[in-house]
Symmetry: C2
Subunit: 142 residues, 2 copies
DNA sequence: CTCGGTGCAAACCCTTTGCAGTAAA
DNA sequence: TTTACTGCAAAGGGTTTGCACCGAG
């Protein structure tokens, strides 16, 4: 089953049509695995494949993909949302943001289970977490 | 040295005047220690003390206080900034956000040193971090 | 054929900025 | 008196929405 099959199944199951525009946005997201694209980034990359696509369609598509858990939608301190393809189930939203070049990369470890269980003992129910480090990436840290 | 003394020293050192408006915003922030207020929250609470204060002044004041490290300015996923009085130096920005009532509280632990030193070994320079848990607070988790 | 999807432009929300008048120091 | 600060309203940036047309199923 190809990536498109997986997605179109998900769309189908929710009465959504797989239009050219949605396929285009999906292609862009797949071609940028691991990157955190803003809506405008997605628009510009989509326009290279389909010049007439509009920003509203991009937003609406990304919104739907986020609700189907095909992409993650995260607000960073810069004040706009960024969208990232969901790689697999155990993605943990650990970002490291370079304060110089602005690059956002992922931290793969999961050292937070202790902290989560500590909070659950206090009566919280933890559903998700989002950890961001701010600093300088190896290239800029010179 | 009272709280106002500390602040007015900081303002003085930066050629800033301690106006009625700034004093009002500071009072509001002190009266809401530990809370994460939006600019509009601050405006409404300030208007109770000084009805003519404007939103632009609130934003400008909070911006100055943030640059003086008197308050923290953080963007949450709802898409707007929230401001919080800096309590002390070892504040770690560990937030827990209730997905039901929307309350934001603080997590005091610091279990992230391992993770930070791991990243520094990889060549990163870590300056700060921001950890958010999403879930349900003890009250709503029933 | 039907109904959801699209592009455009206008509306929206939050935040910032320009300007003429105001008030700290 | 001097210079920074204020309130207002307008502008800005990102996101959402209304509407008439379009196209996937």
């Amino acid at each position: 089953m190809t990536k498109e099959d997986v997605i179109s199944k998900k769309l189908e199951n929710n009465n959504y049509k797989l239009t050219q525009q949605r396929a285009t946005v999906l292609d862009v997201m797949y071609e940028n695995k691991g990157k955190h694209l803003s809506a405008e980034d997605v628009l510009l990359k989509s326009k290279q494949k389909m010049p007439n696509i509009g920003i509203a369609t991009v937003y609406r598509t990304l919104e739907r993909l986020a609700s189907l858990e095909v992409v993650y939608k995260t607000m960073f301190d810069e004040g706009k949302y960024r969208y990232e393809l969901c790689e697999d189930e155990n993605h943990q939203h650990h970002h490291i943001i370079c304060m110089d070049c602005g690059n956002i990369s992922e931290v793969e470890e999961d050292l937070l289970n202790n902290l989560e269980s500590h909070l659950e003992k206090k009566g919280y129910k933890i559903v998700d977490h989002d950890l961001k480090f701010y600093g300088y990436c190896p290239d800029c840290n010179k």
